[in-house]
Symmetry: C2
Subunit: 251 residues, 2 copies
DNA sequence: CAAGCTGAAAGTGTCGACAATCGACGCTTA
DNA sequence: TAAGCGTCGATTGTCGACACTTTCAGCTTG
C-alpha cells in the first residue's frame, strides 16, 4: 500500500489494522492481475483464505469500493471493477486536468531538494527504460508523476491521483507491458521535467498535455482492443485466490 | 444520497441498504451541523440510537471516512473531520482546478436542453438570492455548479465534485449564512453562465476563476476567523445525537 | 498541591452465528 | 423438447459476544 497520506496530526498509527492490511492485499491482487476485471470477490472465500473473519474483509471491500477498485452489487457481493473505454477516457480526462494544475504548482514551489528528487526519479525511469524492464518502467513512470503531485503540495490532489492511478493499474496490470517502445517514455518525460524546471506555465501545460495525451491514446487503444472479447476473465470464485498472506505480526 | 451512478446495466437496485441509510443519516447530521467538527462519533451510541447493531454503522463510518467527512483514529474511533484553513485552501484549489475544466467541457457539450437546465438553475439561484433565503441560496449555488460538472459528462469528476462539496458543507453548515450579501452571488454567477453560453474557453476560465476565487477567499476568511477558538464543539458523545430515524421500511 | 499510579468503565477490533435472499439445478407439464 | 416452477445450496446482511485498548476518575505519594 502506498504511503497513506498522514491524516492531520495523527501519529500514523500502527499498520496492524486488519482492515487496511486486507485492503492492501486485495489491491495488490487486483492491480497485479491475479483478480481479473469482473471477477467476483466473495468475502467468505477471502476471509477463509486469510484465516480471519468476514468483518474486516467486508470493511476492506467497502474501502476499495469507494476507491473504485471494486463494485458493490447489493445482495450479490463485490466484483472487481471492469473498465470500459469510456472509463479510461474519464480517468485520463480527470488525470490530465489535475496533473496540468499540479505541474504548474509544482514548478512554483520547486525547491532545490524537490528538484533533485524529481531529477533522480527521472533518471531512475530512464534507466529502467534503457534496461528494457517494463515492470520497473511502469512503476518509475507512476512515481515520477506522483512526485509532481507531491511537490505541488495539495494532499487531496495527491490522494486523488493515487486513486486514479490505482484504477488505471487495473488495466495496466492486465496489459502487462504498456508501451511497445520503452524509450519513448523517456523521450516524452524529458520535456515535462525541463518545462517544470524552467517554470513557464504555458510550456508546462503544453508538455504535460502532450505526454499524458500519448498515454491516454495508448491505453485507450489497448482497452478498446481488449474490450469486446475481454469477458474471458469471468472466472468463478470457487477456485483458490492465492492472495498474499497477512503479515506475520498477528495470527 | 446522490444518484449513485447506475453500475453497468443494473436497474439501480433497492436503497434498502442499512449501510447507505446510515451513511446518509450521518452525512445529513454532519453537514447539517448537528455533529460539529472534531466531535466523536461513537459507533455504539449511533447503533443504539438507530436501534441497529454496530456492523452497519462501522461500514458507513468507513464510507464517510473515505469521503473525508470522518476521520478514523485506530482504537479510538471516528471523529467528524475538522477543517483547518489549509484544508480549505486545498479543497478550493482542487475545486477550482476541476471546475475550470468542467466549465470549458460543459460549454463544448452544451445542448439546448442542458443550456435550458443551466439557465433554470441560475434563475432559481437568483430568485433565492432576491428573497434573501440563505439556505436556499447555498443549495441553489451548489446545484448550479454541480450541473456544470454534470453537463461536462465525466461521472468521476462529478463524483469528485460531490465529495469536495460534502467536505465543504461541513464548514458552510457551521457558518450558516455564507455571504453577507446574497445578491453578490447572483452577480458573480451571471458572467459564468454567459461565458459558458458564449463558449470562449479563456473567458470561461477567467470568470470561473474569479467566481470560485471569491468564494475561496470568503470561506477562507471565515474559517480562519473561526479556527483558533473553534474547539468549542469538542462535546462528549454521551449525549443523545438526535439523528434522523431510519426509514420505516425496515424494522 | 501537583504529579504519577491504579482501577474500573467505556469503546473498539474481531469473531462466530443466524436469518433472509439470490442463483442454480432439477422436476413437472404442456 | 422447451418453458415454467419449486427446492436447495451458497452467500450476504445483520446481530450479539468477547477480549483488548484507551480513557478517566479517584487515590496515593513526593
Amino acid at each position: 500500500m502506498r504511503t497513506i497520506s498522514p491524516p492531520v496530526g495523527l501519529p500514523t498509527l500502527t499498520e496492524t489494522d486488519l482492515v487496511r492490511q486486507v485492503a492492501g492485499i486485495l489491491t495488490e491482487a487486483i492491480v497485479g492481475g491475479r483478480l481479473g476485471p469482473g471477477q467476483k470477490v466473495a468475502e467468505a472465500a477471502v476471509a477463509r483464505e486469510l484465516g480471519i473473519s468476514r468483518a474486516p474483509v467486508r470493511e476492506a471491500a467497502r474501502l476499495l469500493e469507494s476507491q473504485g477498485l471494486l463494485q458493490a452489487s447489493p445482495r450479490r457481493g463485490f466484483f472487481v471493477r471492469a473498465l470500459s473505454p469510456e472509463d479510461v477516457d474519464e480517468l485520463y480526462d480527470l488525470r490530465l486536468c489535475i496533473e496540468r494544475h499540479a505541474a504548474v504548482e509544482a514548478a512554483r514551489r520547486l525547491t532545490p531538494e524537490s528538484r533533485a528528487a524529481l531529477r533522480r526519479q527521472y533518471e531512475s525511469l530512464a534507466e529502467a527504460a534503457f534496461r528494457d524492464d517494463p515492470a520497473r518502467v511502469v512503476e518509475a513512470d507512476y512515481q515520477f508523476h506522483r512526485l509532481i503531485c507531491e511537490i505541488a503540495g495539495n494532499r487531496r490532489t495527491l490522494r486523488l491521483f493515487d486513486g486514479l492511478a490505482a484504477e488505471m493499474r487495473v488495466v495496466i496490470g492486465l496489459i502487462g507491458r504498456l508501451y511497445d517502445d520503452p524509450h519513448e517514455i523517456a523521450r516524452t518525460h524529458a520535456p515535462v521535467l525541463a518545462a517544470i524546471e524552467a517554470g513557464h506555465p504555458e510550456r508546462i501545460v503544453a508538455h504535460v498535455d502532450h505526454h499524458v495525451g500519448v498515454a491516454w491514446r495508448e491505453v485507450g487503444r489497448l482497452v478498446r482492443a481488449l474490450s469486446p472479447p475481454g469477458r474471458a476473465a469471468e472466472g468463478h470464485s470457487a477456485e483458490v485466490l492465492v492472495l498474499a498472506s497477512l503479515s506475520p505480526s498477528k495470527r
